[in-house]
Symmetry: C2
Subunit: 226 residues, 2 copies
């Protein structure tokens, strides 16, 4: 008795959600911009019903803000919100590391080791997108090794909100080198299965990332004001 294949005949509400989400996190619709239903129905080629359902879903993800009777707007992210989100993510990343150190398998560790070399290669080539990709995969693997689906879901949700800030950060050479060094340490502590030390390091690692982004942001704001 085979289980019926789920087959996800995607609903229009789902495709509208996905496409609109991409538009928002990639910054193709500016933060704070109004989401006019008529305009978006034309752009996405769906009727208002699935579009409005997409609004509700994205509001739940924190990407859209719903103003009763006054429409939907793309959620804005001020510096305080970014700081608060990273403060939380830093802790979650630390928890991930602590749990992963206890629960990771040798196979998973081997995969991370391989990704680490990919990352070093991208760094050596000054290939920033490649570096970001390998970096994200490593963090995702650690997260998966923590074996806590609620943690993973929560982390992903927060990460989505920050996606737009990702590529805006001015990664300096020193900061990049430092991040690479931190990753070497991360792998070592993971191999040693030293949970508490890995937690401390990963938390600091993410707080460093926060500071990098916040200071880039400040520079950009100053430049925009001038």
């Amino acid at each position: 008795m085979n289980a019926p294949i789920p087959l996800d005949r995607a609903t229009l509400a789902h495709t509208a959600t996905t496409r609109l989400r991409d538009m928002i996190i990639e910054g193709r619709i500016a933060p704070g911009a109004r989401l006019n239903e008529r305009v978006l129905t034309e752009e996405l080629q769906v009727s208002r019903t699935p579009l409005r359902e997409a609004f509700k879903t994205l509001a739940g993800e924190g990407l859209v803000e719903l103003l009763p009777q006054r429409g939907a707007v793309v959620a804005t992210l001020d510096a305080a919100m970014i700081a608060a989100t990273y403060e939380l993510m830093a802790d979650l990343e630390g928890l991930s590391g602590e749990l992963a150190a206890q629960r990771i398998t040798d196979g998973e560790l081997a995969e991370i080791r391989a990704l680490q070399f990919d990352m070093l290669a991208s760094h050596a080539r000054r290939d920033l997108p490649g570096y970001f990709r390998a970096n994200m995969q490593i963090h995702n693997k650690i997260n998966a090794a923590a074996r806590n689906p609620v943690l993973t879901e929560t982390f992903q949700r927060l990460n989505l909100r920050l996606y737009s800030t990702r590529y805006r950060s001015n990664l300096t050479t020193e900061r990049w080198d430092q991040a690479i060094a931190e990753h070497g340490e991360i792998l070592k502590l993971l191999e040693a299965r030293d949970g508490p030390a890995l937690r401390a390091l990963l938390t600091r690692h993410l707080l460093n990332k926060r500071d990098t982004i916040l200071s880039s942001l400040k520079v950009q704001a100053a430049a925009a004001a001038a």
Copy 2:
């Protein structure tokens, strides 16, 4: 130029969401039960459009599961999911405590001290609902003192999912006394502004709660099987 009063003329979608959410977290609709649109439109006296929007919102909160083309069901919570959620909440509670120790004002501390006495009074009277209420208020105050709205939102979201498990736990006299003792310690560490110690204690406090609930659950499952 006064900011326009928001005035929240509640939409039907919003009231439907609230009422359906209450029905779910209070267990008036069983976990796993199908949410038939026709039945619920009659029960809630709204048409399908706002009801379906409510489904999307509650799905985002993790209270409802959406099966494309096959309707919505109340999300189920197995023991593994409960354990994972508490594992995460324990960490978030610890983070709350650590941040609160750094950021709490004397006024907030005084409020918590007062709530602590309310809790002791409820304990002395063996007033369980009163105890739960005071207990929750204390945790909320600590959370607010952490000054991280993203943390607060995340915590509330997870808490909502566990709401139904709350009143199902068989709080024994010993566990109740232990919780009271832990709360005395919590207040002391908060007054001492000892972040790291408070984090450790709060994390353990919540892991204890997790164990209490998981063992009650096991007892109930065994009883149901017999």
